[in-house]
């Protein structure tokens, strides 16, 4: 059993708010991520998921609120400091180092904890193999398919030896067989002791991977709980399908 952390709130987000001028992209977001869990963050397009991620990972300064990692306040720290503390993220729009080989890409992550090139390359190889990038290790990153680039995003982040991994839609754009191959990889990462918080639209993946799900809509967290119970929540159905949808669905059932 891997899901039993000593501290229920390994990552704690408290009243996190982001205003861009007059627009409030994220409003008083509060939620927890348990140590050792795979937690999902879902919501319609434009709900504020990526902005929330960007604030947690230090890429955007929050207008208000707190982020705590393992009890330590990390609000507004620089991305590279957070990476050192063990918080790694991937990007929704993949950002490979296009001019480098797959191995060199992963090694940049490995260099965070390893000073020697030999060690960094060895870890890059190991992580690459684990994520199924073995045959592509010496190819240029620009030559990878979409699925390969998504794997590379995860591999690089994993090579920093994080305690918590923030995955921003790593499953988007994968075909069903790529998806089927990738889910065990994520479960394997969690089994290795890494907590995962993932933004995801692929509901099949959310249902099979995530113990807990937080739903954000219009910048607010509107529901939190176990995956099965959250998707039946009327507020969540309305956020996705529109006002009155829950009632109509119930009527048809």
């Amino acid at each position: 059993m891997t899901g039993q952390g000593r501290d229920p709130a390994f990552l704690a987000v408290r009243d996190l708010t982001k205003r861009f001028g007059g627009l409030t992209a994220v409003s008083d977001a509060t939620f927890d991520v348990r140590e050792g869990s795979i937690t999902g963050l879902i919501g319609p397009n434009g709900a504020g998921k990526t902005t929330l991620f960007a604030m947690i990972a230090g890429f955007e300064q929050p207008s208000a609120g707190l982020v705590l990692l393992d009890g330590e306040e990390i609000t507004g720290r620089k991305p590279h400091d957070l990476a050192k503390l063990g918080l790694a993220r991937t990007f929704q729009i993949v950002q490979p180092f296009a001019g480098l080989s797959v191995r060199e890409n992963i090694a940049v992550g490995a260099f965070l904890r390893l000073a020697k090139r030999r060690d960094a390359l060895a870890l890059a190889e190991e992580v690459g193999q684990r994520l199924g990038l073995g045959p592509q290790l010496d190819k240029p990153a620009a030559a990878l398919t979409v699925a390969g680039r998504k794997r590379l995003e995860v591999a690089r982040a994993l090579a920093t030896r994080p305690r918590i991994l923030l995955l921003d839609e790593v499953l988007a754009g994968l075909n069903p067989s790529e998806l089927r191959d990738f889910l065990p990889v994520l479960q394997d990462i969690r089994a290795g002791g890494v907590t995962i918080l993932m933004i995801e639209h692929v509901m099949q993946a959310v249902m099979s991977l995530c113990e807990y799900v937080h739903v954000i809509s219009g910048g607010r967290i509107i529901a939190s709980g176990e995956a099965a119970e959250v998707v039946g929540n009327p507020a969540v159905i309305e956020a996705y399908l529109g006002h009155g949808a829950a009632q109509r669905l119930a009527g048809h059932a």
Partner: protein, 319 residues
């Protein structure tokens, strides 16, 4: 870095020593010394621009700093040439750090970075032209005092060996950077800053180290230039010509490679001297050729040519 990786650099050094032993023509030796000094300046640019992707248009600032500090220390304060050259390097590196601290902290990138570095170099050129300690517009002569102890040599082949040894050291340093953590982080910054930051790369710290190292190397080239010609003025030391050559040589020879600056400097100087011999000394002809060459190289990068040939060859071999 392993000995095998450093072997081509040792090979270069052997060739340079052989050339210095067997070539007697002063014209050729002069050409080679000047080319190697340029290659050192270009190697400095290459560290920041080629590996780090920060295209400076003002490496004249560092070249001039190295040249002036070394020359002033020798001429006005009677310091021996060896520590003077070392101080020149350190002063250039400090200037690089100071400019970097301002420019990178402000988040300037791309063409903005290029323009601001150009402005710094121009300001220094004007200052050097106007102040007394630099000799003003008349420039600064280093007194002739031949002898290895003063880093002045009567014959050009000795100086060729000196320049070759220094360039070899610069290439070894570049290779060491390339194969180290800082090198990997620098290249990551060049390729994608956001992704690098997410992987724990302290972008500002990496850029500051790169610009200090880069400026120090180009400063060494400046000090060496002053030592060879024994005369500098503001238009030589801080002139736009050196900024242009320091960036053209690596781009033409292969930016972000250890041998790129040397190859580029040889091509540039070879073309420049060749046109002078063929067409005579019409001012600016070499610049026209440099421009045309730059366009060609941007379109067909030299360092990709072996790969392209290999791909063609494989293409023919395949069914």
């Amino acid at each position: 870095m392993t000995i095998r990786e450093a072997l081509p650099i040792l090979g270069f050094l052997v060739v340079a020593v052989l050339v210095s032993l067997f070539v007697t023509s002063n014209v050729v030796l002069n050409f080679l010394v000047f080319t190697l000094i340029l290659a050192i300046a270009a190697q400095g640019w290459n560290l920041l621009g080629g590996y780090g992707g920060q295209y400076s248009f003002g490496h004249a600032a560092f070249f001039g700093m190295g040249a002036y500090v070394s020359a002033i220390l020798q001429q006005r304060f009677g310091v021996n040439a060896y520590p003077a050259v070392a101080f020149g390097m350190v002063a250039a590196a400090l200037l690089g750090y100071a400019i970097g601290a301002m420019v990178f902290r402000a988040g300037l990138r791309g063409s903005y970075f290029a323009l601001v570095t150009l402005a710094f170099a121009e300001v220094l050129r004007i200052l050097a032209n106007a102040t007394e300690i630099t000799g003003g517009a008349a420039g600064l002569l280093i007194s002739l005092n031949l002898g290895a102890g003063n880093l002045q040599f009567a014959n050009r082949s000795s100086f060729l060996i000196l320049a070759a040894v220094l360039l070899a050291l610069a290439m070894l340093m570049t290779l060491a950077v390339e194969k180290s953590r800082i090198g990997a982080q620098l290249v990551a910054v060049r390729e994608n800053e956001a992704a690098a930051a997410a992987l724990g790369v302290d972008i500002l710290a990496v850029k500051l180290r790169a610009i200090s190292l880069s400026a120090g190397l180009t400063g060494a080239a400046g000090a060496l230039y002053a030592q060879y010609f024994l005369y500098i003025d503001s238009n030589i030391a801080f002139g736009t010509w050196i900024s242009v050559e320091a960036l053209l040589a690596p781009i033409i020879g292969g930016a972000g490679t250890v041998f790129g600056p040397l190859i580029g400097a040889l091509i540039l100087q070879g073309l420049s001297e060749g046109t002078k011999m063929l067409i005579g000394k019409i001012p600016g002809v070499d610049l026209i050729i440099f421009g045309a060459l730059l366009i060609l190289v941007v379109r067909f990068p030299l360092h990709r040519i072996p790969g392209v040939i290999a791909a063609r060859w494989r293409g023919k071999g395949a069914p």
